[in-house]
């Protein structure tokens, strides 16, 4: 945003500079050339006046001294030529040279004044020439010619262009500084808003954006954002209250039901005991279901208070806890993690996640099977795999496995006690900490559960 604003300010300034400075420079160059021509003509006529009598043979002026003095003071080459095109005096002498073949001399000797630019093979560059006839009484006695190499005038023009360029650069630099400050102040409210939005996104719903003074649009945006945050907070509050209320409202009648059922126990004949035990078990299942739903609801609104947790440490702890049971079931529980794997997760959550995944993996494993936990850091993530050699899940089952109340086929031991909330809770807990979970088919048979959490460098 800042860069874009800067770019637009600078390109606008550059355009204006270009539109103003280029014609200025061109006009300047043109008038510079015209001025030079005017001056040179003026000088040529002055030289004609000074040398006229001598050229006609009546005066005794020092012609070589005259042209040499001219070149010394102005830098132009002056040449005085007699009627046949021979040199009478030349400020840059060239021995025995005849000027008769020069077009401007021919014109001057013919009585015409010649002004123009031509390429000089002798000098190897363009030159400005002015040739004026020295004439009196209708007779041409000779000519005065002044030439300037074009580099003489081009140098001046180039200096002007450089000056114009320098002014442009200073203007651009000033505009850059001002527009940078301006762009920062325009985008500051947006950057603040971005920080506030990120904070709300992390679950800190009480965060509000500062309403900036100044322009209307950022103000309106900040106010609208704050209204949204207030609404979001109250919705989440309402849901949390609902969860708390629902928990109370459901548990109280369940408690009464349970106590009354148990009170029936000594008063029922033996034949009715099975039914009573069944009824108590059902009330217990119902209360487990309420607990599960509340756990899920809490996980869905769980904030994240991440700390640095060594994933390898948690895995080896869970491995120690589960290895006895795995051994009883004849399942090999293998862990392959090297060194420490520091990650950013809310302490305790990864334990819960692994307990759920290991429980599922053990359920799925046939005796003699293998459950493996492997993990490594990959980029910004720590990636854990829990693989089993059970029957695995079809693609459709894998898609649905995170739905609440989804239950796969009965586990290997035929025990089917849950409500299909475990994986849904696990996923919510991971998402709250910025992690993820994915089910893949393992190579061969079985399921490969991939858990990803944010890696960190601190230990």
């Amino acid at each position: 945003m800042t860069r874009r604003l800067l770019l637009s300010y600078l390109s606008l300034t550059a355009f204006v500079l270009l539109v103003l400075e280029v014609p200025l420079g061109v006009t300047f160059a043109r008038s510079e050339r015209r001025q030079l021509i005017e001056r040179v003509r003026h000088d040529a006529f002055a030289l004609v006046l000074l040398s006229e009598e001598t050229v006609e043979g009546t005066g005794r002026a020092d012609l070589p001294g005259l042209v040499a003095g001219y070149q010394r003071t102005t830098g132009g080459r002056a040449t005085i030529i007699d009627a046949r095109g021979g040199s009478l005096a030349d400020s840059t002498p060239s021995a025995g040279e005849s000027f008769a073949n020069r077009p401007e001399i021919q014109a001057a000797l013919a009585g015409r004044e010649a002004v123009g630019w031509r390429y000089s093979r002798t000098l190897g560059q363009r030159l400005l020439y002015v040739a004026v006839p020295v004439a009196s009484g209708g007779r041409v006695h000779g000519a005065v010619r002044i030439t300037y190499p074009s580099s003489f005038v081009e140098r001046r023009i180039r200096r002007t262009w450089l000056l114009l360029g320098g002014i442009g650069a200073v203007v651009l630099a000033t505009v850059f500084l001002i527009s940078f400050w301006l762009a920062r102040s325009v985008t500051r409210p947006l950057r603040e808003l971005e920080a506030a939005a990120a904070s709300v996104g992390r679950g800190q719903l009480a965060t509000r954006a500062r309403v900036p003074p100044g322009p209307r649009e950022p103000r309106a945006l900040a106010i609208a954002f704050n209204e949204m945050a207030v609404r979001l907070e109250s919705l989440v509050d309402a849901q949390q209250r609902f969860v708390a209320d629902a928990s109370h409202q459901l548990r109280t009648p369940l408690a009464a039901l349970r106590l009354r059922l148990e009170n029936l126990n000594p008063e029922l004949p033996q034949s009715a005991r099975d039914d009573l035990d069944g009824a108590i078990a059902e009330s217990w299942r119902l209360s487990r279901l309420v607990d599960g739903l509340l756990a899920l609801a809490r996980a869905e609104q769980a904030g994240s208070t991440p700390g640095v947790v060594d994933v390898a440490g948690v895995v080896s702890e869970r491995h120690a806890a589960w290895s006895d049971l795995a051994e009883e079931r004849g399942v090999r529980l293998e862990v392959a993690l090297r060194g420490q794997l520091p990650a950013l997760v809310t302490p305790g959550r990864l334990d819960q996640v692994l307990d759920n995944l290991l429980a599922n993996a053990l359920d799925a494993s046939p005796p003699g099977g293998r459950v493996a936990v492997t993990g490594a850091r990959s980029g910004d993530l720590v990636q854990l795999h829990v693989t089993d050699e059970g029957p695995g899940l079809s693609a459709e089952e894998r898609d649905r496995a995170f739905d609440r109340f989804w239950q796969g086929a009965t586990g290997h031991d035929g025990h089917r006690g849950g409500f299909g909330l475990g994986l849904a809770i696990v996923r919510q807990l991971l998402i709250a900490d910025g992690g993820s979970i994915e089910l893949r088919p393992a190579t061969g048979a079985g399921l490969d559960v991939v858990v990803r959490v944010r890696a960190t460098d601190l230990v």
Partner: protein, 220 residues
């Protein structure tokens, strides 16, 4: 033992009083916080947190301020923070509704035992075959060798040892040993049984009754 039940909801209080009396307790029931504070001293208080006049926590704090009577909070709130607050302001235990009598009675006994460690009537160490279990010191010996158990493992073994040979259902174990309304995979129970079997060194001592629960084998 005299129990003071502070509970405003009749649907809970009526069956609770009946069941506790059947279990041999003398129960006085009040429906409000101020009545609870005015009631004659009891051996134990069962306190609901939602009361019509006073906040349950406030009642708990005031009761604790004037005596060290054991207090068990019974509440429908299962949030970690509620438990922590309840225990911090002086409750001895925190039981989440719904619960069974078995669990309630176990907690009552545990709390009173903790409160009065020198009380006569403390159970003597239980002996079942090579196993010796001392509830007072929470120690377990196998063939005279001490076995180091975690708190959960000990509670689990102590529960099974209450009635050797009888099946203890998974539900009963989860209710009595785990935090009430702890929600995790029920397989955690199997995890602890497996590690208990290994530590005791005799896998046949704790028998799995498929689909029902576990029992401690009464050796021949």
């Amino acid at each position: 033992m005299e129990v003071l039940l502070v509970e405003d909801d009749d649907t809970i209080a009526v069956p609770l009083v009946k069941g506790l009396e059947r279990e041999g307790f003398t129960v006085a029931r009040v429906a409000g916080g101020s009545d609870a504070l005015a009631a004659p001293a009891a051996d134990l208080v069962l306190l609901d947190l939602v009361l019509p006049d006073l906040d349950g926590y406030e009642v708990c704090r005031r009761l604790r301020a004037r005596s060290d009577v054991p207090i068990i909070v019974i509440s429908a709130r299962s949030e970690e923070v509620d438990r922590v607050v309840g225990l911090e302001i002086g409750a001895d235990d925190y039981l989440v509704k719904p619960f069974g009598f078995r669990e309630l009675v176990a907690r009552i006994h545990a709390v009173t035992r903790r409160r009065q460690p020198s009380r006569t009537g403390d159970p003597d160490p239980v002996r079942i075959g090579p196993l010796e279990l001392d509830r007072r010191t929470r120690r377990v010996r196998m063939d005279g060798e001490e076995v180091a158990l975690t708190a959960k493992e000990f509670d689990l073994l102590a529960l099974l040892a209450e009635d050797p040979g009888a099946v203890c259902t998974r539900q009963a174990i989860l209710e009595a040993v785990w935090d009430a309304h702890w929600y995790g995979p029920t397989k955690t129970l199997d995890v602890h049984v497996a590690s208990l079997r290994r530590k005791l060194g005799d896998p046949t001592m704790i028998e799995t009754v498929r689909g029902v629960g576990f029992r401690l084998c009464d050796p021949p």
